[in-house]
């Protein structure tokens, strides 16, 4: 079946080459008309500069308005946490079972709604933000410093976590990311450090901080180092009440409180510690900053973080020479993420790898919607949340702290591929409610996805493989045509 070209009002400036498209497929969540125009206007170098330092890039108004209308855009983590704690207390004090049940359900619904809003905000940014690199990194760091929304009260906190702890530092200093996640209540709840106190040691977070966030397993630290770091982290916790604890006078000046984060000296182990061969004298929260400085300055940390970035942007098993160069930049710049990325994007290893990275479900779904509907703003993000659930990669949905896999083998098993094809069919079979207003009012626009748009003819069609063309020719309906395109190897690699 031949594709029907829609006449598009948007002009695409100039022709783009296969390599341009592949390059944009990596640096962005997939080209849209606006992306291609900006790229053609600036050229690759200046476009990359803009992506690495996206200060002037603004979210288009419709998406910005939708985000401004969300509850999470008006309430801080501290407020939300205080609310949920108060409500839990009220419910526990209720004597009537029916009342208890109704209130619990209402609270649970509120948690689900807030976590959904956080996912909605992230999806809207991924779809429409011109700062596409920043958005990909926001996802990557969320995955690196992963939290699970169903742990404790994290559904109330994941929005703030992403917006305040992750996104502002996504292209900034790595150390700031570590400190921002370390002091955020979402992480403190998720890895139990909120409960880590002198005499009640919980080493869960201390272990993952070194294993998953900074150094990597097998990089040389020991069980003893984990226990010592856990001692350093005693007293780093949460206080959502706003009331300061009553403290001995010598402790009062060591107390810290910001938002729902609290450092409580009364819960801290003030003994001296030895971490990675360095003595850390008992001093309070300064120990934490000292420990993070020490960890982040290890060559192992530079390599570990560089490797993670290269796995996401270059290949499943990135070339050691590239990692070494990136790690050098990391150490020279004390962990400047944009600088490390610049050395990645300007490497020949990066260029050589274009078109060979299998899309994880997030890239698959977001790039699909960007291709199918281009800049046309969707109203409803529920379908996208559902597709990501079905493909096994929901936001804030990784139960274990290691984050989702970044490799093809993590997403391309037989079971996963057949599911992806089925989702391709679902997406290709109609808009799935993407244009239905979220408030439940009737949809004003319908939109069967027309994948064969001007954008398709400039960025996809010219570069299709013979096998994909043959399949598209065999399609008996628009639905089949859409399904085959989205299921093709051509579309599933970036």
């Amino acid at each position: 079946m031949a594709a029907l070209a829609l006449v598009s009002a948007d002009a695409l400036a100039g022709e783009v080459s296969r390599q341009d498209v592949q390059w944009l497929d990596r640096v962005t969540y997939g080209p849209t008309t606006a992306t291609v125009n900006e790229y053609s206007k600036l050229g690759r170098r200046r476009f990359l500069d803009e992506q690495l330092h996206p200060r002037g890039l603004r979210l288009p108004q419709p998406a910005a308005d939708e985000i401004a209308a969300l509850d999470i855009s008006h309430r801080s983590a501290a407020e939300l946490l205080a609310d949920v704690n108060r409500e839990n207390q009220r419910i526990n004090a209720l004597t009537e079972d029916a009342q208890k049940e109704t209130s619990r359900k209402a609270l649970n619904d509120q948690g689900n709604k807030l976590a959904y809003e956080a996912a909605r905000r992230e999806i809207l940014r991924a779809l429409y933000s011109p700062a596409q690199l920043q958005e990909q990194l926001t996802w990557l760091w969320l995955n690196h410093f992963s939290v699970f929304q169903y742990k404790a009260n994290d559904r109330w906190l994941v929005g703030d976590y992403l917006e305040q702890a992750i996104r502002p530092h996504a292209l900034g200093q790595f150390r700031d990311l570590v400190m921002a996640t370390l002091t955020h209540p979402a992480m403190l709840q998720y890895l139990d450090n909120a409960q880590n106190a002198n005499g009640h040691i919980n080493e869960n977070y201390a272990r993952e901080l070194m294993e998953l966030h900074t150094l990597g397993v097998g990089s040389g630290y020991t069980q003893q180092d984990i226990q010592e770091l856990a001692r350093v982290l005693t007293g780093v916790g949460i206080n959502a009440t706003g009331n300061e604890p009553k403290l001995k006078p010598e402790w009062q000046k060591l107390y810290r409180h910001e938002g729902a984060f609290e450092f409580n000296p009364a819960r801290h182990d003030f003994g001296s510690k030895t971490l990675l061969g360095t003595t850390i004298a008992g001093s309070g929260f300064e120990e934490v900053e000292q420990a993070v400085d020490l960890i982040v300055s290890q060559p192992a940390c530079a390599r570990f973080v560089s490797r993670k970035l290269a796995m996401y942007f270059v290949s499943d098993d990135p070339p050691p020479a590239l990692i070494e160069r990136m790690a050098k930049t990391f150490q020279k710049t004390h962990g400047d993420i944009a600088a490390v990325l610049e050395s990645l994007f300007k490497s020949h290893e990066f260029t050589d790898s274009l078109g060979t990275k299998f899309k994880d479900p997030v890239h698959f779904v977001i790039s699909t919607v960007r291709l199918a509907y281009d800049g046309k703003p969707i109203a409803n993000t529920h379908p996208i949340v559902n597709w990501l659930n079905a493909l096994g990669e929901p936001l804030f949905g990784r139960q274990t702290p290691d984050g989702y896999p970044l490799t093809e083998s993590g997403w391309a098993s037989s079971g996963q591929i057949s599911r992806r094809f089925e989702i391709a069919r679902t997406i290709g079979s109609g808009n799935g409610g993407l244009f239905d207003p979220e408030d439940g009012t009737a949809a004003t626009t319908t939109g069967f996805p027309q994948l064969s748009t001007r954008l398709y003819y400039s960025t996809v069609e010219p570069f299709l493989s013979t096998k994909a063309r043959t399949a598209l020719d065999r399609a008996g309906s628009q639905l089949e045509w859409n399904t085959f395109l989205l299921a093709s190897p051509d579309f599933n690699y970036r």
């Binding site: 272990r207 139960q399 098993s413 037989s414």
Partner: protein
Amino acid sequence: MKRRAFLKLLGSAAPALTVSGRLFAAPASSPRFLLVFLRGGYDCANVVIPYSSSYYYEARPNIAVPKPVTSALSGVACSSTCPSQAIPCDACAAADGNGALALDSNWALAPVLRASIAPLYAQRQALFIPFAGTEDLSRSHFETQDSIELGQPLQGSHDLRSGFLSRLSSVVNGAAPIAFTDSLPVCFRGDSDIPNISLKGVGKPVFDTRQASILSDMYAGHHLQQEVEDGLELRQEVGRVMEQEMKDANRDAMTPKGFELEARRVARFMKDQYRIGFIDVGGWDTHVNEGAALGALANNMDSLGKGLAAFSQELGGEWRNTVVAVVSEFGRTFRENGNKGTDHGHGSVYWLLGGSISGGRIVGNQTKVDRPNLFQDRDYPVLNEYRAVLGGLFASLWGLSPNEIQRVFPGSTPINLNLV
């Protein structure tokens, strides 16, 4: 032999169905093996309880499972006046209350497994191997799970593309392996493109034969060709299993849910076609408020136990020809932590279930559970290394030669615990 090479060998004799299971349809007498991996490090000390150790009760002031009341499973009925004289004794359930169920004079089973695993133990179809595990000491979930699934010597460099169940599948005649997971587990990594499909929350297949063949053709010659073909065909098989479920549901109204439903589906898959299976169950990382006889760990165990019991029932007569091993990456700290939970430990307790195993006993090297015997004054030691234990099991299950065992677990010396 690589599966792709095998398919070529079949050549024109190959039927339209392309999935390994059908092509490999194993001889009826070939035993089945299912590996159940409890991800997160389950707290074995609260499931198979060392109740003769006073230190257990000392070390867990808040979370210890109470001592047995009756001698429920230890081979004698609870009392000579017991009306049922059955083991386990239903009549004594009330007397047992939240107490553990005695397995022998030292060990007892979590009471939440009374209706599921206890009867299997009483029928000698379940056994437990305390102090089992790996010598990997990272105490990292991910590192330890991977190293167990790779099954290679800890020293030296590792081949990250070669898991032990994949190697086992290449030495067992007609192995027909499959993973019942969302993604392909590390233990099935290898040259032979082993299929996987998750059996939770799946619907009916959506592609007809023509569409499936167009989709497959797009991947002809692509390195994902095998995965694409297997995936499309497995979805058809799931459709057939679901049709059977619908028919059964019309006969009796109870429809199982959660892991039990999944385990029943696994049994249906394994009954006819597949001989080596893998499934994982998560949620065992109980750092906080894990509970004792009741609580978070007990709830998760309840669902696991019910699923495994359902798996044995669904297999019917074929249960005699089936072995299930339940493993986890490590045990947990023997002492409870400051939050009524436990942290990452070392030695675990492995389980073996099956219709004709030598069950009803505690197996393997043992030591007294006491503080001086704890590893690093913190965890169970590992006295039964998993490669030696599983190697010994595989040798007797399929009559594998020492050379074949070496291919599965290089550099390991299998121990024969007379498990089957």
